[in-house]
């Protein structure tokens, strides 16, 4: 077979090994300390996966931005903005009763997210403003809009039926159930994987991150690709925002604060190159799970949230160090 191809996926492989190692360590600790298994369906899917799902959805979009050599800092603010729009349409201005109305509200939330992404894409494609700065500005605008729209107070008391999008389960049997956010994550994961591996759009995004001049000379409309990339990130953030709204039973203008950091961390820990040109969706999934397992594990160890932030920072440095070390060898 093709050894080169295997070597290409080495960073993902190592991330996967790291994830397994973490799980086994925690399994051991958990068995000794609590006489309870860490590696169980309930813990990994209901607990860890659900906890990271909404951020992992954003990470899937972020993967494309980073792949193309850019970044999107506005994702957390888009979560809030699209969330409060959805919440408002569900509660204060229902277009229709029941799920008909919810659907419109959800669609509106997704549209708001995509529109914010479109704005990012326009700036990146048509100006020389770097993505870092463009999305930094949008981050402020979207967050501000969420505050203005809600006057700074959460839109709470959403109907229980709607909250299912964030809190609910798909019940397969009595004991087997999948959280809705995890299902959303899987759907977004497969869609993004397909986009990256099987469509021209994914190929172009990767090519742009490698060498934009060559792509331009190949007659490809680079601007269009940029706009699509940031619209995709916006859409993912919108999906996440709507689900977060259900999870919190309210539209919070403070939702998604600092989420861009975890999304970027997922991509990088999963083996993506922060400078662009090489990112995988599968690696991003692993990266998100590693973050989830670390969070859960540190909780289990009884570590305070504040200390967890410090640990997470170090993990990221180690992940990137390992990666650049790998690069130098090859």
């Amino acid at each position: 077979m093709n050894l080169k191809k295997y070597r290409y996926y080495a960073p993902e492989f190592f991330a996967f090994i790291a994830l397994l190692t973490l799980c086994l360590l925690l399994e051991w600790y958990s068995l000794v300390k609590f006489e309870k298994s860490f590696i169980s369906y309930d813990n990994l899917v209901i607990n860890v996966a659900r906890q990271v799902s909404l951020n992992a959805i954003i990470a899937c979009g972020m993967a494309f931005a980073i792949l193309s050599g850019g970044i999107d800092l506005s994702v957390g603010s888009i979560v809030a903005f699209s969330g409060v729009i959805t919440a408002s349409l569900v509660k204060n201005h229902p277009v229709a009763p029941g799920w008909a109305g919810y659907s419109v509200a959800i669609a509106a939330g997704l549209c708001v997210g995509t529109a914010c992404g479109f704005l990012n894409g326009l700036i990146v494609a048509y100006t020389k403003i770097p993505p870092f700065v463009a999305t930094f500005a949008t981050m402020s605008v979207a967050r501000g809009s969420a505050y203005v729209f809600t006057n700074g107070t959460p839109i709470s008391g959403l109907p229980a039926a709607f909250n299912e999008v964030g809190k609910g389960y798909l019940r397969l049997t009595e004991s087997w159930r999948i959280p809705i956010p995890v299902l959303l994550w899987l759907a977004v994961f497969f869609a993004c994987w397909f986009l990256l591996m099987r469509t021209r759009f994914g190929r172009y995004a990767c090519a742009i991150g490698n060498n934009v001049d060559t792509v331009r000379l190949a007659g490809i409309n680079v601007r269009k690709v940029y706009i699509k990339i940031y619209m995709l990130v916006g859409l993912c953030s919108g999906i996440s925002g709507v689900a977060q709204c259900g999870r919190l039973s309210s539209g919070q203008p403070t939702a998604g604060l600092n989420w861009e950091l975890d999304a970027i961390a997922s991509v990088v820990i999963g083996g993506g190159n922060i400078a662009g040109g090489r990112v995988t969706i599968f690696g991003t999934l692993i990266g998100a799970l590693i973050i989830g397992v670390i969070n859960t594990g540190l909780n289990m160890l009884g570590m305070l949230y504040y200390n967890q932030l410090i640990v997470k920072g170090f993990v990221m440095i180690i992940a990137v160090l390992l990666r650049s070390g790998l690069n130098r060898e090859s």
Binding site: K4, T199, A207, N210, N211, D213, L217, A218, G219
Partner: protein
């Protein structure tokens, strides 16, 4: 200085200098001697070894063998710092100045005068700078920002900086490339002035007229070998050109078999302000049209405008008699142009992606079914090219970065052909490629034209232009100054060189 007596007739002697890159000769047993207070020209075609020799002198490269004698004493130059300490300064084409800083800040970067507190003494620095700037007689102030200066003025700053470091020998690499005629005159006045102060200058230029105007002696290199040194007053331009190109064309090139057919492409009145003016030419089916010109003559700009990669102010492009509109590379590809750019690694290939991904990049619609990439189709097409162009790669999935330069270039050719291009624009197709691979590229070009494709080839390599082209256009300062048809008269290196130096051919 205790020893005021000259220990030698020469300030610099370089003896038997050799330098090989991966077994390829860059220099072999080259020698050059520079007298005190002399302006010495160093000439030769692109790739003759001028830059390598100067880089050895300035410490950027290390020599494989040979000896450097400075002021009569053997000099050991291992780093650029060494050469500076020994009083050698090189003024590069792209001046090593920081645009956002002032003239004096640049001149004393890293050796700023300090106050008693250890902070930078700007006042003294500006005074010092003023002193040296006066010596090159310029009007601007030490506090002016470099970005506000013209390129001529920036060059004067670089020279003043060299003098302030105690330079006795200044190397000027194509100093007039970006200067106007008037600025060139000012520079020459300065050179004469420096000369009278006993400073020696090595002057590298493609502009032969300048050599006859300002230089005392000239040393000619060719293919990494020493040809001759002579007094400028003893020779004329024709003999100088003969020395530069002297070699006979051996069987470096496969014989041209293809016979050009009827005219295919017609370009009229193409222009772009300050870059191209009044460009008109045609291209016949199955023809290789060579475009020769010195760096900055507008050849790359011309083909980029043709392909749609650069804008143009005017210009009608007609294919088979029908006018076409080309405003972007997308238009160019649509109308059957394929472009192999000069900077292979920066613009030709995507180094981090596979051979297959590179080959199909510009025509992905051909391998897309129902919005999905058909990877089997992609592989099939790539393998076809790997076979027909003889691309040496372990597999179609191999990352292009790991291929040799010649094979990377073939990947770019495959990419162009996969877009169904009929007119292939090759900008320096063999630059940075070793000799054997060059021959393969030439054979490939012959086969392409035999199959009915037409090629526009830009090259700085005169033998290559003559060995491969059916017809040659020569450019100088954005205009076409000569057209030579092999079917009418044999292509002459001298005539092409003259046209490239701005003499309009009869």
């Amino acid at each position: 200085m205790p020893d005021l007596e000259k220990r030698s007739d020469y300030i610099l002697e370089m003896k038997d200098i050799s330098k090989f890159f991966f077994g390829n000769r860059a220099l072999e047993n080259v020698h050059i001697e520079i007298e005190y207070g002399e302006v010495h020209a160093l000439v030769g075609e692109n790739g003759a070894g001028k830059s390598t020799l100067m880089k050895i002198l300035s410490g950027a490269y290390s020599k494989d063998s040979g000896e450097i004698i400075l002021d009569g004493a053997p000099a050991d130059i291992a780093t650029p710092q060494d050469s500076q300490t020994l009083g050698i300064s090189i003024i590069y084409q792209e001046f090593n100045l920081i645009r956002g800083m002032s003239v004096s800040e640049n001149m004393f970067l890293g050796r700023e005068p300090r106050t008693m507190f250890g902070t930078i003494d700007s006042k003294r620095r500006n005074e010092e700078a003023r002193k040296w700037l006066d010596r090159v007689s310029v009007k601007f102030k030490p506090t002016d920002l470099v970005q506000d200066l013209s390129s001529a003025q920036a060059q004067f700053v670089a020279i003043a900086q060299a003098l302030s470091k105690g330079a006795k020998l200044i190397i000027m690499d194509e100093p007039t490339a970006s200067l106007t005629t008037k600025e060139t005159e000012t520079l020459f006045d300065l050179i004469r002035d420096l000369k009278s102060q006993g400073i020696s200058i090595i002057f590298i230029s493609h502009h032969l007229d300048e050599i006859f105007e300002i230089c005392d002696r000239v040393t000619v290199l060719r293919d990494g070998l020493y040809v001759d040194t002579s007094k400028v007053s003893d020779i004329d331009k024709d003999s100088l050109i003969r020395m530069m190109v002297g070699r006979e064309l051996s069987n470096e090139f496969p014989p041209r078999m293809a016979l050009p057919g009827e005219p295919l492409l017609e370009v009229k009145d193409m222009s772009r302000q300050d870059v191209l003016s009044d460009i008109r030419f045609h291209l016949r089916k199955g023809e290789i049209l060579g475009i020769y010109g010195l760096v900055g003559s507008g050849r790359t700009e011309l083909v980029r405008a043709l392909y749609g990669a650069d804008r143009r102010d005017n210009g009608d492009i007609a294919l088979g008699g029908a006018p076409v509109e080309i405003r972007s590379p997308h238009d160019g590809i649509k109308h059957g142009f394929g472009f192999l750019p000069e900077e292979r690694k920066l613009q030709g290939v995507i180094l981090g992606m596979s051979v297959a991904n590179n080959v199909t990049l510009a025509a992905m619609d051909k391998i897309t079914r129902y919005l999905m990439i058909d990877e089997r189709e992609e592989l099939k097409n790539t393998e076809h090219f790997v076979h027909s162009l003889n691309i040496k790669t372990p597999s179609a999935h191999t990352v292009v970065q790991t291929l040799s330069g010649g094979n990377q270039q073939k990947v770019v050719v495959a990419k162009c052909i996969f877009t169904d291009a009929e007119i292939l624009i090759f900008d320096e197709p063999t630059r940075g490629i070793d000799v054997g691979a060059k021959y393969e590229i030439y054979v490939l070009m012959n086969e392409l034209t035999k199959s009915g494709k037409s090629i526009i080839m830009i090259s700085s390599d005169l033998p290559e232009i003559i060995g491969m082209s059916d017809r040659v256009l020569v450019m100088w300062e954005g205009r076409i100054t000569g057209e030579f048809d092999r079917a009418k008269t044999p292509l002459s290196q001298e005539a092409i060189m003259k046209a490239a130096a701005g003499e309009v051919a009869a």
